[in-house]
Amino acid sequence: MLSKKEKALIAEIWESLSPVAEDIGSDALLRMFASFPGTKTYFSHLDISPNSSHLRTHGKKIVLAIADGAKDISQLTVSLAPLQTLHAYQLRIDPTNFKLFSQCMLVTLACHLGEDFTPIAHAAMDKYLSAFAAVLAEKYR
């Protein structure tokens, strides 16, 4: 459950990170591929080496979607509808991977924000990313 304060904090953080969406997104993806090599199996069609244009484009896409959802968290099911369909019928990424990506995103945020990634911001962000992942998997079955 996200409080009003937490939703505002989350929106604020993603607003500030949108300009560096490419950096944040590619960093999180690289961390996931390094720590959880099984996740690479979903990317055999892309060049996911550090700094590749594929990786940066894809990372940016993911971060902008997360940032967009953060603008109005109560409407996640509406704003994510197209992505729900994509993930359920086309990508079919096993949802346990969403947790792995979320953990790596939290690490990216910690590296990027340092002290500013306070326990309260961390808690709020973890809750948001869990909610985002849950909505993303809603059409799977």
Binding site: R31, A34, L106, V107, C111, F117, P119, I120
Partner: protein, 147 residues
Amino acid sequence: MVQWTDFERATIKAIFAKIDSAVVGPAALSRCLVVYPWTQRYFGKFGNLFNADAIRSNPNVIAHGKVVLDGLARAVQNLDDIKATYAELSVLHSEKLQVDPDNFKLLADCVSIVVAAQLGKDFTPEVQAAFQKFLAVAVSALGKQYY
């Protein structure tokens, strides 16, 4: 037995040389109690855990955080036999403290985040992978004596 690459050994030892367990331990434990509030169930005797500030400044949390990190440091000294090193600790957590082993992973994730915040860019994806592999081994060893 766990196989460590030279890079992993060097990386894990370097991180522990760089961090102060009296700082990282309390930071990680208090973060865990804030981010995963249900973990507070094991700390009923610690006093005021009412909010993030109270948790952060709670002397019991601070003391215990250091104990936990010192425990991890012991595993670093015994990378090739963490299971044996932690046998007694595992029994303690299972029989006396009765901690659900799933909680170990939550605390480990918080340790990662605290170290990441401290090291910033130096906490590269490869460094993170090595560090998290170590934490996973420690977590697994801690759960080994449960039955």
